[in-house]
């Protein structure tokens, strides 16, 4: 009896050791929204960041049958939905596997989760996580404060789609003692005068992420009037910086892939099983347009130093 008891406890110890062991294999399914460059770039970078042989990546076709293909076996198995389409498809065919949504905006994630009751439950249970693509409103503000420390008046325009940014910015600017002016422009409004008037009364202008049409319909006026009134513009993409913004802060598919890879590697190594709660990215790229900086008569700006300053301001908050 005692011999059998010893055998039993030995097996139990071995079993427990295996189960709670430091390395367990992980099947990670990657579901892109389509074949376009941004998603492909993300996937390629993610694969390049693989650090553990225990991680088994499987890239699915955008139109893959999720129910048929995804049979989770390990606790560490994961489905990474890349983009809005991919998350929508995942939620409509919710396989029994944790889901990490990436390359998705905060509003898109919230909207899609809100449309699927079961998804809300899974979210509460920590079975769905997300790393948003856009920056938190505070980060644009901290960049503005870093490039133009004397600035007191912040201005921006937004469409109704982006009004959430405004709600986030308002208390932040009050906290920082800044005067925040904004205008919501609908598709049928004349954008030129609103932007011109705002720009005239701003020390820094934030060009926030918005719909393609809104950006294309307003970027020209933002850049023209920014130069006219000599107001630095903070943009949300590399192209905005190239087009004439003083600086831009954004997360590229490569940045998102590296951050996602870190999360997957931690999960696979057993260091962290729980998915990250939906939140803004920690990785981002900062670009300064030095030509614009010269035109505005500003001292040379160093991207790395700006990043350090922004990170410090974020930690303080």
């Amino acid at each position: 009896m005692s011999h059998r008891l010893n055998q039993f406890f030995t097996c139990l110890i071995i079993f427990l050791g295996c189960w709670s062991g430091s390395a367990s294999s992980a099947n990670v399914f990657l579901l892109p929204s389509d074949d376009s460059k941004a998603y492909t770039q993300f996937i390629n970078q993610l694969l390049a960041e693989k650090r553990s042989p225990e991680i088994n990546y499987q890239v699915l076709a955008p139109d893959a049958d999720l129910q048929a293909l995804i049979k989770p076996r390990q606790q560490t198995d994961l489905l990474v939905s890349i983009g809005t389409h991919a998350l929508q498809k995942t939620l409509e065919n919710l396989p029994d596997i944790p889901v990490l949504a990436v390359l998705i905006t905060h509003t898109a994630f919230k909207e899609l989760i809100g449309q699927h009751k079961e998804a809300e439950t899974r979210l509460r249970d920590g079975k769905i996580g997300a790393i948003y693509l856009e920056q938190p409103a505070s980060r644009y503000l901290y960049l503005a404060a870093s490039v133009s420390p004397q600035a007191k008046r912040i201005g921006t325009v937004a469409s109704p789609l982006s009004s959430e940014f405004l709600h986030e910015l308002k208390p932040l600017t009050e906290k920082l003692g800044l005067d925040f002016s904004y205008k919501v422009i609908n598709a049928e409004d004349n954008p030129t005068h609103a932007i011109d008037d705002l720009m005239r009364n701003s020390d820094v202008y934030l060009a926030l992420p918005d719909s393609t049409l809104f950006i294309r319909g307003t970027a020209k006026w933002v850049l023209l009037t920014g130069l006219k009134w000599r107001v630095p513009i903070i943009g949300f993409s590399a192209r905005y910086a190239e087009a004439g913004a003083l600086a831009a802060i954004y997360t590229t598919p490569t940045d998102a892939a590296m951050e996602t890879a870190q999360c997957i590697n931690r999960r696979a190594s057993g260091k962290q099983h729980r998915l990250p709660a939906p939140g803004y990215p920690e990785s981002y790229t900062l670009t300064v347009n030095h030509k614009v900086s010269r035109k505005l008569g500003l001292p040379p700006l160093d991207e790395s130093a700006l990043k350090v300053r922004i990170n410090a301001m974020e930690k303080k908050q």
Partner: protein, 678 residues
């Protein structure tokens, strides 16, 4: 012929009828976005970067031709008093004074007093004058301060901009009314008894933003020549954006110019040409929710020219001989006309779209109508006209991240030369993100202009008989043909503040239109008649380079150099065959260096050199060298905001000749005061 013409007109009408409903429905019902909230596609989508020469917004490294951009700083620091002078800073372009206030702007030489192989557009409107087959720079009504930038395409751009862009194009973009505010006045005084006054006012009228410009310019031209100018312009640019997706623009302008013109070899024969030029331009742009753009434009240019000149009494012209000796009565011999009138109407549609992630397409269609009325240029015939239809497109394909293809096609049909198709294929290979190699091949055609086709200048006696045939046209005049190859390199070193563009090119022009000579025409009693004909065939090869160096944020040095060699023949008559190698300067160099000092003082120096050349119809010119200096300082206190500047052109007084021997460019000094009244 009639059935063919009818068919083609019906074809165009059908095309528009097919397209318009589709376009209208596209406008009325904007494509619905799949989601009504922000997605990653909105954050990752493209934004326009650089206004381009293919109709697509393209980075310089992706364009199929070499481009030079002259920005406001370069215009200002060059010290240029006239717009044409600015183009001395473009490799491959030569600028010369035909007269004191008449300019030739030439790409790769082979030009006379009326250079005709370069298209010039202002905000998308062609300002090429069908009546003279050239650009009358002083009648454009442009204040240098109202120019935002100029994009020069150095190489044939026919596939995108039509026949006149045979060797290149100049695209002038004026400042948007929203870019400035208030009122600015400026006054410039200087050599040649120059007085140049201009006023600009920017304001808002309800939802419309506008810029009003008015100017007066006068000077005496070259010393001892009657080639002065008296010129007045007024223009309006207004924009209206009713919503995010739509922009409307209206431009109006009027110029009245009196310019002394003549052959510099005969200073006593100068006359006054009076121009009255007006234009109306309407433009609409619509942006779709996916970023595609649709444009519709209409413009009308009109120029009236009065070049009526009396050569004097017949008896004086006959050296005192009684006109009865030649069967004529005493009479005044007149050349030119008071009623030269040309109109150009154009309506056009264009569309730019992203076909997929790697392909973009710009395509469009224009209908153009040119009309010329002139007793002198048409020898009393009824007004002549030409209708031209164009269909064009440029496809950009990013085959790989480092490889870009551009394919451009232009279909032109007009009444005179029927159908021509011009094309261009270019490959841009990005060796590294900021180092690009470009290979480009172009086949283009330039149809004769209305004047080249119809010109008939005959001096007649009062009885209608011909005294002197000055100018006619070969009724079988055909289009010019161009084959061009180009290899280019574009490099950017942002950390070093360096940007460079180098290209080598080879151009073959066949059937070049020029003036043949004939002494044997019936009715031509005096001298040789000139005949518009296809008499030149030549090749030009060479190299052009531009280097821009910005060591810091206050200093800029731009250096340009071009090397060009031409080989070919110009057959003016059986016994008058010339090579063309002296018709393009082998070396052209320019440099502009500017610096802004701590006190706000801005200093700049420009240097120009050109090797010997003999422009068609001009004198033999030796090496030319000129250095200009400009110093400007701000005027700003509680009451004034402005700038005072001092320009010396040809500071070392190395007098040189422009185009003809009597056009001596001496040292010139100008002082200018600009005030912002806000």
């Amino acid at each position: 012929m009639a059935p063919v013409k009818t068919f083609r007109l019906s074809y165009l009408t059908s095309l528009l009828l097919i397209l318009l409903p589709g376009l209208c429905s596209a406008v009325e019902s904007m494509p619905d976005a799949e989601y009504d909230f922000l997605t990653e596609q909105d954050l990752l989508s493209d934004m326009p970067v650089v206004s381009s020469v293919t109709g697509l917004d393209q980075r310089t490294a992706d364009t199929p031709a070499s481009i030079t951009i002259i920005d406001r700083q370069m215009i200002r620091t060059s010290g240029a008093v006239e717009l044409a002078d600015v183009f001395r800073l473009v490799p491959g372009i030569q600028v010369y004074h035909v007269n004191g206030n008449r300019f030739g702007v030439s790409m790769h030489g082979q030009t006379d007093e009326f250079p005709q192989r370069l298209e010039v557009q202002i905000d998308g409107r062609s300002v090429y004058l069908p009546m003279l087959s050239t650009i009358v720079w002083t009648s454009l009504g442009l204040d240098l301060d109202s120019i935002e930038r100029i994009e020069i395409v150095r190489g044939s751009n026919v596939p995108a901009q039509g026949a006149n862009a045979f060797l290149g194009s100049i695209n002038i973009i004026t400042r948007h009314p929203l870019q400035d505010n208030g009122t600015r006045v400026s006054y410039q005084n200087g050599s040649q008894d120059a007085h140049n006054f201009s006023l600009q006012h920017n304001n808002r009228l309800g939802p419309v933003d506008f810029r009003l410009n008015a100017s007066h310019q006068e000077n005496n031209g070259f010393s001892n020549l009657k080639d002065g100018m008296d010129s007045d312009h007024i223009s309006l640019r207004s924009t209206y954006s009713p919503d995010i997706a739509n922009q409307f623009e209206l431009q109006l302008g009027y110029s009245h110019d009196i310019i002394g013109v003549g052959d510099g070899d005969r200073p006593d024969d100068f006359t006054e040409n009076k121009f009255a030029t007006s234009y109306q331009y309407l433009d609409w742009k619509h942006t779709f929710s996916d970023g595609d753009q649709l444009g519709l434009h209409f413009y009308h240019n009109q120029t009236r020219m009065n070049d009526r000149t009396s050569l004097g009494l017949l008896s004086d012209l006959l050296g005192g001989v009684n006109p009865a000796a030649i069967g004529q009565v005493e009479q005044e011999i007149i050349i030119g006309s008071t009623n030269n009138l040309t109109d150009r109407y154009e309506i056009g549609l264009d569309h730019s779209s992203r076909l997929n992630e790697s392909m973009r397409l710009f395509w469009g269609s224009t209908l153009r109508y040119d009309r010329l009325k002139s007793d002198w240029l048409l020898d009393g015939r009824k007004p002549v006209h030409n209708r031209q239809t164009r269909l064009f497109g440029n496809l950009e394909w990013h085959a790989f991240s480092s490889l870009v293809f551009n394919a451009g096609l232009m279909y032109e049909h007009d009444q005179a030369v029927l159908t021509k198709i011009s094309s261009r294929l270019a490959v841009n290979y990005h060796l590294q993100p900021k180092q690009t190699l470009r290979f480009s091949a172009t086949r283009a055609h330039r149809a004769p202009s209305l004047l080249e086709l119809e010109r008939s200048e005959i001096v007649r006696f009062v009885d209608g008989s011909s005294a002197d045939i000055q100018f006619i046209t070969n009724p079988e005049l055909a289009e010019e043909d161009l084959d061009a190859l180009e290899i280019g390199y574009y490099g950017l070193w942002p950390d070093a503040g360096l940007e460079t563009d180098i290209k080598i090119f080879h151009e073959i022009i066949n059937n070049g239109i020029d003036k043949a000579k004939s002494r044997v025409l019936p009715g031509d009693l005096i001298g040789a008649a000139l005949i518009n004909d296809n008499i030149s065939n030549f090749r030009t090869h060479g190299m052009e380079t531009q280097i821009i160096y910005r060591p810091d944020h206050v200093t800029r040095i731009t250096t340009n150099y071009s090397y060009a060699v031409a080989k070919g023949q110009r057959v003016r008559a059986e016994n008058d065959i010339s090579t063309l190698k002296t018709r393009v300067p082998r070396h052209t160099f320019s440099m502009l260096a500017s610096r802004m000092f701590n006190t706000g003082l801005e200093g700049s120096i420009a240097h120009y050199r050109m090797s010997p050349v003999k422009w068609l119809g001009g004198s033999e010119l030796l090496w030319q060298s000129r250095t200009d200096l400009r110093v400007a300082f701000p005027l700003s206190d509680a009451r004034i905001d402005g700038e005072a500047s001092f320009v010396v052109q040809n500071i070392f007084a190395e007098d040189y000749v422009e185009f003809q021997v009597n056009n001596v460019f001496e040292r010139r000094i100008f002082v200018q005061l600009k005030l912002n009244l806000n």
